[in-house]
């Protein structure tokens, strides 16, 4: 079946050619930099870098469109929730209050709150491209090999790779199950009311879990039969050596991470305050 979500997309690009472990390290560095900092300048820079990485990877937006929409939906939900539960959090952080519109009770809109939520949104936007790219540009087997190389036990590396490897399979299962249920009259298309749709869709979960459990059993038996886990070490078919570009990528991520730390000291904290 076509266009599976979150599966490896084969292409020839700089990002694809990077070592799997490099991508993991860069992803961790970039995302923790974006997570820790609330400094708009740092975040904007990471967003900028992320967009460049995305363009370099030659992955098309269309190919990850659905998952992007999904994340965007949560981003909006998150923003609404923040405003509902903490409409004055920005004022609290930045120690100032510049009102735009007066609202009922504490729901007055302030520049501080807007700025705070802008930073949250930037965090999302900064982390999404590296996270998605890490999944769609890393071949599962190659990734396991690299993980093992940086010292993680091969059993663990292998389970991570199997998990990644089965994302498309489980999606295919899901589609088949969903369609067979729909053919039996359990409607999940737009013709049905949303509440009922969700209820109907949840009925797929049981067969999906069951068939996945079946798969787990089969896989583990097959691996045992092939002698997996017998020796302390194993060789990797798709191991890729660390090349110069890997070093460059890791150093660049380290620099960005370092920059975030420097800005933290300059700001005396995680926030950049333009209001004082």
């Amino acid at each position: 079946m076509s266009n599976e979500l979150l599966s490896f997309i084969e292409r020839d690009s700089v990002i694809h050619r990077l070592n799997g472990a490099t991508k993991l390290i860069c992803f961790i560095l970039l995302s923790s930099a974006a997570m820790l900092s609330y400094d708009t300048r740092v975040l904007l820079f990471i967003v900028f870098v992320s967009v460049i990485i995305f363009i370099l990877s030659k992955v098309k937006i269309r190919e990850i469109g659905f998952i992007l929409g999904f994340i965007l939906f949560f981003l909006i939900l998150n923003n609404i929730a923040i405003y509902l539960f903490a409409p004055q959090h920005g004022t609290l952080i930045y120690g100032a209050s510049h009102q735009i519109i007066e609202g009922i009770g504490r729901y007055s809109l302030t520049w501080e709150q807007l700025f705070y939520q802008l930073n949250i949104t930037l965090k999302y936007i900064a982390v999404i491209p590296p996270a998605l790219l890490f999944i769609v540009t890393t071949h599962p087997s190659e990734f396991a090999a690299s993980l093992n190389r940086i010292g993680i036990s091969y059993r663990l590396s292998y389970s991570v790779s199997i998990a990644l490897r089965y994302i498309p399979d489980i999606q295919r299962d899901y589609k088949t199950i969903a369609k067979s249920q729909q053919a039996r009259g359990i409607d999940m298309s737009r013709n049905e009311k949303l509440g009922k749709r969700i209820k109907n869709a949840s009925s797929i979960l049981l067969p999906l879990i069951l068939s996945s459990l079946d798969r787990i059993e089969t896989i583990s038996n097959v691996m045992e039969l092939r002698g997996f886990g017998k020796r302390k070490k194993r060789t990797w078919y798709s191991y890729r050596k660390f090349a110069r570009r890997d070093m460059i990528a890791i150093s660049m991520s380290l620099i960005i991470f370092g920059m975030m730390i420097v800005f933290m000291f300059l700001n005396n904290g995680r926030f950049y305050n333009p209001f004082s």
């Binding site: 079946m1 076509s2 266009n3 299962d173 088949t176 199950i177 369609k179 067979s180 249920q181 729909q182 053919a183 039996r184 009259g185 359990i186 409607d187 298309s189 013709n191 009925s203 797929i204 049981l206 067969p207 069951l210 068939s211 079946d214």
Partner: protein
Amino acid sequence: MRKLERKKAWLNDIPVAKYEQPIHSPILEIQNVSFGYPDKQATLNNVNLTIHRGEMVSIVGANGTGKSTLGKLICGFEKPISGTLLFNGKNGNNDSLKMRGEQVGFVLQNPNQMFSKHIVQEEVGLGLLHKEVSPDEVKLRVEQTLKVCGLYPFRNWPISALSYGQKKRLSIAAILVMEPSILLLDEPTAGQDYKHTTELMTFLESLQTQGITIILITHDMHLMTEYTKRAIVLSGGQIIADDSPAKILANTELIERANLKQSSLHALATTLHITDHERFVEKFIQFDREVRLNEQ
């Protein structure tokens, strides 16, 4: 040598049942249908096929020849890029899955992919409950279907306690209860032993006599020869033969082209120096059936 002569004489004694295909109205017409996934080579190329009411047809072909895709198109899981599918003469291209499901029941290869309830009878009733059928009628139809499928004694069992063959029959029951006019089965006997295969196929034959059209997707040549009167051979996304199974298997060139495996009966015929494979296979199956019937 005498032995061989005797065998041949014995073979000649078995009467071949004269079978005449009753001509019924077409229930499914596939016209110039093509299908392919984007950016990939077409999996089905200009397929034309007519299936008549009450037929039992097998669709055969090696892996990756498009037989499963054809099945998916028939049951509406996928939509053709071009061409039309007519159900009872009506264009079904714009049917929703739900509408198509009322005409075609698709039994997936893996029964575990079909169950979403815990208890056998709940599973069978699931589709009906969504169709606004009165509870009394649901109960009645569920019980009837379970009896037909030989699962009535297990109606209160959890599905997980059933054997694979029983699950397979349950998946058929869950479809059958919706009363589709066409039943489409993907590899119905995969992973089952001879006894269960025979049981299942006999059951399907009884359904056929009740007027249900049955389409089998399979790569089991014996299944095709023994139970269906008509087989459609797919190769490279095209129909390369539409004939009686015996004739198909007798055609070595065709077999090679379609990358099919000859059934062991044909190998046996060759070893016995029987030239008329077609008749031999027909007779063997006839005899096999009689023995089975006598046993029951």
